[in-house]
């Protein structure tokens, strides 16, 4: 019984192999057909990249190619040729998901995306059109990070990052409520962006070179400058990292924090013993119980975590920043207009703080004489139209969430339990790093 089946199985295997080998050649040729035959009907499919994106174009191209070929001729050779092509293209469609990069390697966006293929936008403006058609902006956020993104008891999202999502929604729709939040774990955030599950990722994501290239993303302006900090016990009289020779330091394992700690101490030539734990909770608990001399994590979390210790006054946060963690909104590479929109909403929020335009007083600026303000609020000029938005988009944004400083104070400022000093996140005029290019 089994012996009889073996040739059949072997034959099917060989057939599958041959078909998949054909697919590699067939895909590019049929794409050309599609470009020629379909440009008028669907110009947007031209530059589709990625696993199935490319393959489905190929399949539809083969289909359109088949109909003119078979109708006038009736010649058996031509029809069969068309049929073969479409069969090959179908195989391409079914084969390419297996090796996601396979069909997409030639396209620039997918080549940049490295491990996972991205469904790149077809042209500038496609994102904005899709979002407007859908009626909501889908924003990827952290499932829970105090101050940046958390869910209230009533079920609504609040936080610093969340307000930037609302600001972008206000810019696109004039209505900050037209945003859908998609909570994303760290591992799922880039795939979600690449597969266009989300339109924009505002999830305390550090801007790095790899993420800008291999992950297929494009970053907007930094909305929060974070950095790694160090907390020690008051009684140990430590004021600089150099004083920590031989110290035991509690750190969460598998994080950039752990790597940075080693880098910084090696550069300073200071000996230390890392005490690592799986979770942030366990790490902090170990420090609280006195198992370590120091505790290190991002400065944005450090202030609040100090307050959560049994006796906050016994601990001090050193005035050092051990790493650069610029957190920025991220969009998918390939649609410059969409990236511009996200960027200029952030710039607008910063400029508004600079010009002291707030949620409450924005209407009083309608009669302002200042040309910068008049341009930004769309009273004169066509700046919004250049982004595909209304000229007064910043008025909607500011009415929705206020300026950068207001967002900051609402979620991270002195009135909140986090109470993170503005530091690098102050305007450049106040000694910080926030600097927006001019609206003109």
């Amino acid at each position: 019984m089994k012996l009889k089946q073996t040739p059949l199985v072997a034959g099917m295997l060989v057939l599958t192999l041959m078909l998949s080998a054909c697919a590699g050649n067939a895909a590019p040729t049929t794409t050309e057909t599609s470009a020629a035959g379909e440009t008028a009907a669907a110009p947007s499919t031209e530059v589709i990249a990625g696993g199935l994106g490319g393959a489905s174009t190929a399949a539809s191209g083969a289909a359109t190619g088949a109909s003119p070929a078979s109708s006038p001729a009736g010649g058996a050779a031509q029809t069969s040729a068309a049929a073969t092509t479409s069969a090959a293209a179908t195989t391409a469609a079914s084969a390419s998901p297996a090796g996601a990069g396979g069909a997409a390697q030639t396209s620039p966006a997918a080549a940049a995306s490295g491990s996972a293929a991205a469904i790149a936008p077809a042209d500038a403006g496609e994102f904005l059109r899709t979002i407007r058609d859908r009626g909501t902006l889908i924003c990827g956020v952290n499932p829970g990070l105090a101050g940046f993104s958390s869910v209230e008891a009533s079920g609504g999202y609040v936080g610093f990052d969340v307000d930037f999502c609302r600001a972008v929604a206000a810019a696109v729709f004039g209505d900050p409520s037209k945003v859908e939040f998609r909570p994303l774990e760290a591992a799922a955030r880039f795939p979600a962006l690449q597969t266009r599950e989300i339109d924009v990722l505002i999830r305390n994501t550090t801007w790095t070179l790899t993420r800008d290239t291999a992950n297929g993303g494009d970053f907007g302006p930094v909305n929060f400058y974070d950095g790694q900090g160090m907390m020690v016990r008051q009684e140990e009289n430590i004021s600089r990292l150099e004083d920590m020779g031989g110290a035991q330091i509690c750190v969460q394992s598998g994080t950039t924090t752990e790597l940075n700690l080693a880098d910084v101490f090696r550069a300073l030539n200071v000996e230390f013993t890392p005490v690592v734990f799986d979770t942030n909770d366990a790490t902090l608990a170990a420090y609280a119980e006195g198992r370590c001399d120091g505790y290190t994590t991002d400065r944005s979390g450090l202030a609040a975590q100090r307050l959560g210790l049994p006796n906050p006054d016994e601990h001090v946060i050193l005035d050092v920043t051990m790493s650069k963690e610029p957190l920025a909104p991220m969009v998918l590479q390939g649609d410059p207009q969409w990236r511009d929109i996200v960027s200029w909403v952030v710039y607008g929020l910063i400029t508004a703080e600079e010009q002291e335009i707030t949620q409450a007083n924005v209407d009083t600026f309608q009669n302002s004489e200042d040309p910068t303000i008049r341009r930004m609020l769309g009273i004169e000029g066509e700046l919004g139209a250049g982004l595909g938005l209304d000229n007064d988009f910043m008025v909607d944004v500011l009415k929705a969430v206020g300026n950068y400083g207001e967002i900051y104070n609402r979620h991270l400022g002195p009135e909140t339990p986090l109470d993170i000093p503005r530091g690098q996140n102050a305007l450049y005029t106040d000694g910080g790093l926030l600097y927006a290019p001019p609206f003109r």
Partner: protein, 404 residues
């Protein structure tokens, strides 16, 4: 006096009518070593209890749970629409009450368990409104039971019809319609908490059952293609972790679909869980199928039953009865596995717990509130899994599993 007159063979063994002190002496303090161990372990237990209770009643901060009860139960489902979830719950309890009245038996145990649970929750310090709703639910179970048992004959068909219609009614009620004022559309992305956990588990269990049975039968089929497909499917799915299947469904699937085709996230996860669970269920059922002696099939054939009748009437009932413990074990683990969907962005009970822990309000609580919230969530999981196990034990006793 009378017992001495009975023949020796009818005498009962002497009862172990020892008092507590005797029992202690015999079992815990027989010899100095056992006494020492008893004292040491007893001291340890008392110390642990003292620590845990001391923590629970003094240090622990339980406020996050009542404050966030709504999101723990229904996730981000809009507050003003929560009545829709309550109606679904009421419908479910009414159905259990009716069924208990009509059929009695194990259904009566389930219904009384549900009523007792609701009653227990109703005396907890929740808001007056919540407690009134819970009391109403208890009354509904009772009313269903009385109506069901009074007119058993009339209600039987209605109850069966309602059971079959209830999933559709609930989905329509929970989801609503775009543009309908009384029943606005609620995106499935907002469903969460215990609601989502139960939904995932129940749909996963119900949908994977027929699929698993079919796969098990297919694996024993003599048709090579059917058998090959079933073996391939089962071994492929059993070879990967659930989280991989979920990631496939949530992240890889959109890559294979055209950019404008979007399948609802919840449906994707439901399909993934069902497909995953079916493979394991198939192997459990196959174990049952193999335990049926060939004589049963031959006897059925001799009686003139065809293949389908043999399978449906003779083999499957016996096979499924034999594997009830394994099936319940699998359903319990499926219920707990639903917590993995938090990783792909759906906030079920555990996902919401993580969200609650991270609320800024608890930042100033020493050591955070993760212990309290996770304990609560663990308790909820335990109650459900323990109830499952109890129901299955009742079922086994009634069907005589292991005794026949």
């Amino acid at each position: 006096m009378s017992s001495t007159e009975l023949p020796v063979s009818r005498l009962k063994p002497p009862g172990s009518s020892v008092n507590a002190l005797d029992w202690l002496r015999r079992n815990l303090f027989n010899g100095w070593l056992n006494s020492l161990i008893t004292v040491l372990l007893g001291a340890l237990v008392i110390w642990l209890l003292y620590q845990v209770l001391g923590w629970a009643f003094t240090t622990a901060v339980w406020t996050p749970i009542p404050t966030n009860l709504q999101i723990l139960m229904t996730g981000r489902y809009p507050s003003e629409q929560v009545w829709r979830v309550q109606i679904c719950l009421a419908l479910l309890l009414l159905l259990f009450g009716l069924s208990a009245g009509v059929w009695g038996g194990i259904l009566r145990s389930i219904a009384s368990g549900l009523a007792a649970g609701a009653l227990l929750l109703a005396i907890m310090p929740f808001t007056l409104q919540t407690r009134l709703v819970l009391a109403g639910l208890v009354l509904l179970v009772g009313a269903g039971f009385i109506v069901g048992s009074r007119s058993r004959h009339h209600m039987r068909r209605l109850t069966i019809a309602l059971w079959f219609a209830s999933p559709a009614i609930m989905v329509v009620l929970l989801r609503g319609f775009v543009g309908v004022p009384g029943l606005p559309y609620v995106d499935t992305g907002l469903w969460g908490g215990l609601l989502l956990t139960i939904l995932l588990a129940v749909v996963g269990i119900i949908a994977s059952f027929p699929l698993g049975v079919l796969l098990a039968l297919g694996r024993r089929s003599k048709l090579p293609v059917v058998k090959g497909f079933c073996v391939g499917y089962i071994e492929l799915i059993r070879g990967v972790p659930l989280i991989t299947v979920l990631f496939m469904a949530m992240i890889m699937l959109p890559l294979f679909l055209p950019a404008n085709v979007r399948v609802d996230n919840l449906i994707r996860v439901l399909v993934a869980i069902t497909l995953f669970s079916a493979a394991y269920l198939a192997e459990n059922v196959r174990g049952g199928l193999q335990s049926i002696p060939n004589g049963q099939v031959e006897a059925a054939r001799a009686l003139g039953l065809n293949v389908f009748q043999t399978t449906l009437l003779i083999v499957l009932p016996q096979a499924l009865r034999a594997v009830i413990p394994a099936l319940v074990g699998q359903f319990i683990s499926l219920f707990k596995d639903t917590s993995l969907v938090a990783i792909v962005g759906l906030a079920e009970l555990l996902g919401i717990a993580d969200i609650v822990i991270e609320q800024p309000a608890w930042l100033t609580v020493p050591h955070g509130v993760h212990r309290e919230v996770l304990l609560f969530v663990g308790l909820v999981y335990w109650i459900f899994c323990f109830s499952f196990a109890q129901i299955s034990r009742h079922l086994e006793t009634r069907l005589g599993v292991g005794t026949r």
